[in-house]
């Protein structure tokens, strides 16, 4: 496979990986919403410092997953492009 073909393959792979990741992380959203509501962690006014930390982790899960997916996909493309 020549370089152009390899770049194209990597881009396609990255897109598939990105789409899979974007679909998968949707499953997290309801659970995060449920855990953050008043009947669970009540992240609007947590009782303890531990709950506050857990709420911060829950808040950052989605963005971390998204960053991870984007980083992974972008990294694959960038890494291939830079070689």
């Amino acid at each position: 496979m020549n370089k152009k073909g390899a770049v194209g393959f990597v881009i396609l792979t990255a897109i598939v990986y990105f789409m899979f990741g974007m679909v998968t992380y949707q499953f997290l959203k309801p659970d995060i919403a449920i855990q953050r509501d008043a009947s669970h962690m009540n992240c609007s006014a947590p009782d303890t410092s531990g709950d506050k930390v857990i709420c911060l982790i829950l808040d950052s899960v989605v963005i971390l997953v998204v960053i991870t997916i984007i980083s992974a996909a972008g990294g694959m493309i960038t890494n291939r492009a830079l070689k």
């Binding site: 997290l28 959203k29 309801p30 995060i32 919403a33 449920i34 953050r36 509501d37 992240c43 947590p46 410092s49 506050k52 930390v53 709420c55 911060l56 808040d59 950052s60 899960v61 989605v62 963005i63």
Partner: protein, 841 residues
């Protein structure tokens, strides 16, 4: 002279006083001699009587006059009195000759006509006192004027003569009243050894002979009655013969009334030999009772006193005041008045069965009228005393009829306790019939109970033996019963038991039964009523290969074994809950049953004061522990057996504002479902929809609902078996994803909020310092890792990070509060300057 006149006057007064005294004495003597009459009353207190029985009052009287002529009992109230006189009042005679005198005239005690004695020997011993003896010649006593036509001949006459003959031959006149032609107005004659009565009429038969044969040396009472119907001859108080003659006596010159011989004019004939005594002439015809009374009185025909007792029978209600009165022949009457007292106990009615059966519970009732002094009433039944209960005037008691084995008459009566006195009612009889329960035979042929046997596994008929069974049977309340002990070691396919009486009988049975290859079970049903509508009972057995012994250990909440717990095992066979075995726990609190582990049984346990404990399930283990002591009945039925169900959506959360199809799919392979379904409510229990089904083996039910803005959907689903609901709940959380609850924005908001609340002990300075180091670290790592040293890139990277922390996350402290996002603006200006510088380069 004056003195002589004075003495004469005194003498005259003395004579007047003496005459007055004599007159008073004569009046007094006359009063005494006139006879007295006394009346005595006997009205005893009656303790007990019934309003239908006859009660007796005695009224008696004594007089020294000859006879009573009347007696009566009457009352000043209305009522009928039954009079039962024991003595007979006899009429006054027209003449009575006791022949007591030994000289002078022959006295007529009535004072009518004395006789002149001529030759009779007086003073000889008579039937009473003295008599006249006639022996030879023309001995007689007579009076021509006695009993003349004007007195008697046209009226009925009765002549009584007591005589003791010394000779039996010839015609001998005892007494007569004749005419100068020799005919008799009335005559009593001894003719040989018979007595003859004669009365000459103007035609027809004039005489009749008595039948009694007379002997010498004995006293006889001779009787002649002559009246308008005929002539009667009698001896010793009994009229023996008579002749009919209604013709009158021809008037003619009357002759003597004489005794001892006939006499008219100078003619004397028919001289009697022997003794005569107590001669009475009545101007009436005495009846047979009066004649017998005279004969049997012991006073011949001359009673000096007479006693008359009358018995009066009366029913209740009582006539409170009554009188009795007697009058004698002298016209004296006396009466007496008595106030009756109420009986202590007046029985109004009694209730009982005249016939009963062994073991019956019989009720006995007596209704009485009595005052408060009646303090106790007991029933004496077959010699045993039973207390009664009182309700108004009714006393009642119940008792169990004893076993007698043969038909028996039992006597019972009532005892009363009244003011310290004890008395009894009259008695009644009750007939006790025997009863018999047993295997049917030629004489015991009315079937009440038919018992057959089946294999519990396949319901096939089998033969079985009955081993030492007992049947306690009774009619009443089981205070008394009879017992049939029954054993049959030869296996039979049925046993039919019969009862001897066509009435409902109660049977408490204990039946151990078994068969070859089938371990013994005990059938001990509750006491059951049986009638001639035959009760069919099937007893089930489990084979050795298919059953197991299951032991139930019954304890209380303190883990102590309970003895005497009533237990039974039932099973639903053909839609009927059927008793298959029963018994009581032993001292160890355990009982063992032979059960099929593949069948569902219901085990029941009861011991007072504990509540009934009931459990329905497969008994596959050899031991179960049952704990009694709860306050409520525990009944467990396995209505999950064979039931499968599923519910969709399967997720535990739903999105708001979304329509979902809710399904409830149920199937039952063991129980028949009567109904099943579900409903959907929200978190506030507001109903959003429901549906149900009735297919016995189940189906799928669907309901489509939109979650809307609700927070929760709750499905309440159920199924009904044997009218018992089995319910459960499934819920879904409804979430709202429109507020980006999962978004990055929350990270900054929460972090800022938590920091403000003191999380990690951070202040704005500390937070800014940490962010500063993060920015420096990112930029440093970028340069070191990738060797990017371009100023514009570095400032741009810092700008991006500051903007992220400040604008996006809002966690970067702002030193200039008057200008929002001041750090970002500064870094933006610097980044623009760096880009411009890069472009100018």
């Amino acid at each position: 002279m004056k003195k002589r006149q004075k003495n004469s006057l005194i003498e005259a007064y003395r004579r007047k006083i003496l005459v007055g005294a004599m007159i008073m004495f004569i009046f007094f003597l006359g009063f005494v001699l006139a006879g007295t009459i006394s009346v005595t009353l006997d009205s005893p207190q009656i303790n007990y009587t019934t309003n239908s029985s006859s009660n007796t009052l005695q009224c008696g009287s004594t007089t020294d006059a000859l006879y009573f002529v009347n007696s009566s009992l009457y009352t000043n109230y209305s009522g009928t009195w039954e009079i039962n006189q024991t003595n007979i009042a006899t009429p006054q005679p027209a003449g009575e000759y006791r022949l007591e005198g030994t000289s002078g005239v022959v006295v007529d005690n009535i004072g009518y006509s004395n006789l002149t004695n001529s030759g009779a020997t007086r003073g000889t011993s008579g039937i009473i006192g003295n008599s006249f003896n006639f022996s030879t010649g023309d001995d007689l006593s007579y009076n021509q004027t006695a009993f003349n036509y004007s007195d008697i001949s046209t009226q009925p006459v009765t002549l009584i003569v007591w005589f003791n003959p010394s000779s039996l031959s010839g015609e001998k006149v005892l007494a007569w009243k004749g005419k100068t032609n020799g005919q008799a107005i009335f005559e009593l004659m001894q003719k040989d050894d018979k007595l003859r009565a004669r009365s000459n009429r103007n035609s027809g038969t004039t005489e009749v002979l008595c039948t009694t044969t007379i002997s010498t040396g004995s006293w006889y009472m001779g009787i002649i009655i002559s009246n308008s119907t005929g002539i009667y001859c009698g001896t010793n108080g009994v009229i023996e013969n008579s002749t009919t003659n209604s013709n009158p006596i021809d008037p003619y010159v009357e002759a003597n009334f004489s005794i001892g011989a006939g006499s008219y004019g100078a003619t004397t004939w028919g001289n009697f030999t022997g003794a005569l005594d107590e001669i009475s002439v009545f101007n009436v015809s005495l009846n047979s009772s009066q004649l017998l009374e005279l004969y049997n009185s012991g006073n011949a025909a001359r009673p000096t006193t007479n006693t008359l007792n009358s018995t009066f029978l009366f029913p209740f209600p009582i006539i409170s005041t009554w009188n009795c009165e007697f009058c004698d022949i002298e016209g004296d009457c006396e009466s007496a008045t008595s106030n009756r007292t109420e009986p202590y106990v007046l029985e109004n009615s009694r209730t009982y069965n005249t016939t009963t059966y062994e073991t019956s519970y019989e009720n006995f009732i007596i209704n009485v009228t009595a005052n408060s002094s009646l303090t106790d009433v007991n029933l004496i039944y077959n010699g045993t005393s039973y207390d009664t209960s009182k309700s108004g005037s009714i006393y009642s008691t119940t008792l169990s009829v004893p076993n007698v084995n043969t038909q028996t008459n039992v006597t019972f009566y009532w005892n009363f306790t009244y003011a310290g006195q004890y008395f009894s009612s009259n008695s009644n009889n009750q007939t006790i019939e025997p009863i018999e329960f047993g295997l049917c035979n030629a004489t015991l042929d009315v079937p009440f109970w038919n018992i057959t046997f089946k294999d519990e596994s396949d319901s096939s008929d089998i033969n079985a033996t009955i081993n030492s069974a007992t049947f306690e049977y009774y009619f009443g309340n089981n205070t008394l019963n009879k017992t049939l002990s029954f054993t049959n070691t030869t296996a039979n396919d049925y046993y039919t038991f019969c009862f001897s009486v066509n009435r409902t009988i109660y049977i408490d049975a204990h039946i151990p039964y078994a068969s070859t290859g089938y371990p013994q079970r005990i059938f001990n049903p509750p006491t059951t009523a049986f009638t001639n509508s035959t009760t069919n009972t099937t007893l089930y057995l489990i084979s050795t290969a298919e059953g197991i012994y299951v032991t139930f250990q019954v304890i209380n909440t303190a883990d102590q074994p309970l003895e005497g717990v009533l237990t039974n095992i039932t099973r639903n066979i053909g839609g009927t809950e059927t008793l298959v075995s029963s018994g009581e726990t032993g001292a160890d609190g355990a009982i063992t049953y032979w059960l099929d582990p593949d069948n569902v049984y219901t085990a029941n346990f009861y011991l007072s004061p504990y509540d009934l404990y009931s459990v329905t399930q497969l008994f596959t283990q050899t031991t179960y522990t049952i704990t009694l002591g709860g306050t409520t009945t525990s009944t467990i039925y396995d209505y999950h057996r064979g039931v499968d169900y599923s519910i969709t959506p399967i997720n535990s959360y739903l999105s708001n504002g979304t329509s979902y199809n809710f399904n409830f799919t149920i199937s039952s392979s063991y129980w028949a479902l009567e109904e099943y379904g579900f409903n959907i409510t929200n978190e506030n229990r507001t109903l959003y929809g429901n549906t149900l089904g009735t297919t016995s083996n189940g189906s799928t039910l669907s309901l489509t609902l939109n979650t809307g803005t609700n927070e929760t959907f709750i499905m309440n689903y159920y199924w009904t078996i044997n009218s018992t609901n089995t319910t459960s709940v499934r819920s879904w959380k409804i979430i709202d994803l429109s507020d980006d609850s999962f978004s990055l924005a929350h990270l900054g908001e929460d972090f800022d909020s938590y920091v403000d609340s003191g999380l990690f002990g951070l202040t704005d300075f500390g937070t800014g310092l940490i962010l500063f180091f993060i920015i420096i670290a990112v930029v440093g790592v970028t340069k070191v890792k990738w060797g990017i040293s371009n100023t514009s890139f570095g400032i741009g990277l810092i700008f991006a990070l500051v903007a992220l922390f400040d604008v996006s996350l809002g966690i970067l402290p702002n030193p200039i509060n008057a200008v929002d996002h001041f750090p970002t603006i500064i870094m933006g200006i610097l980044f623009i300057g760096a880009m411009a510088r890069e472009g100018l380069r």
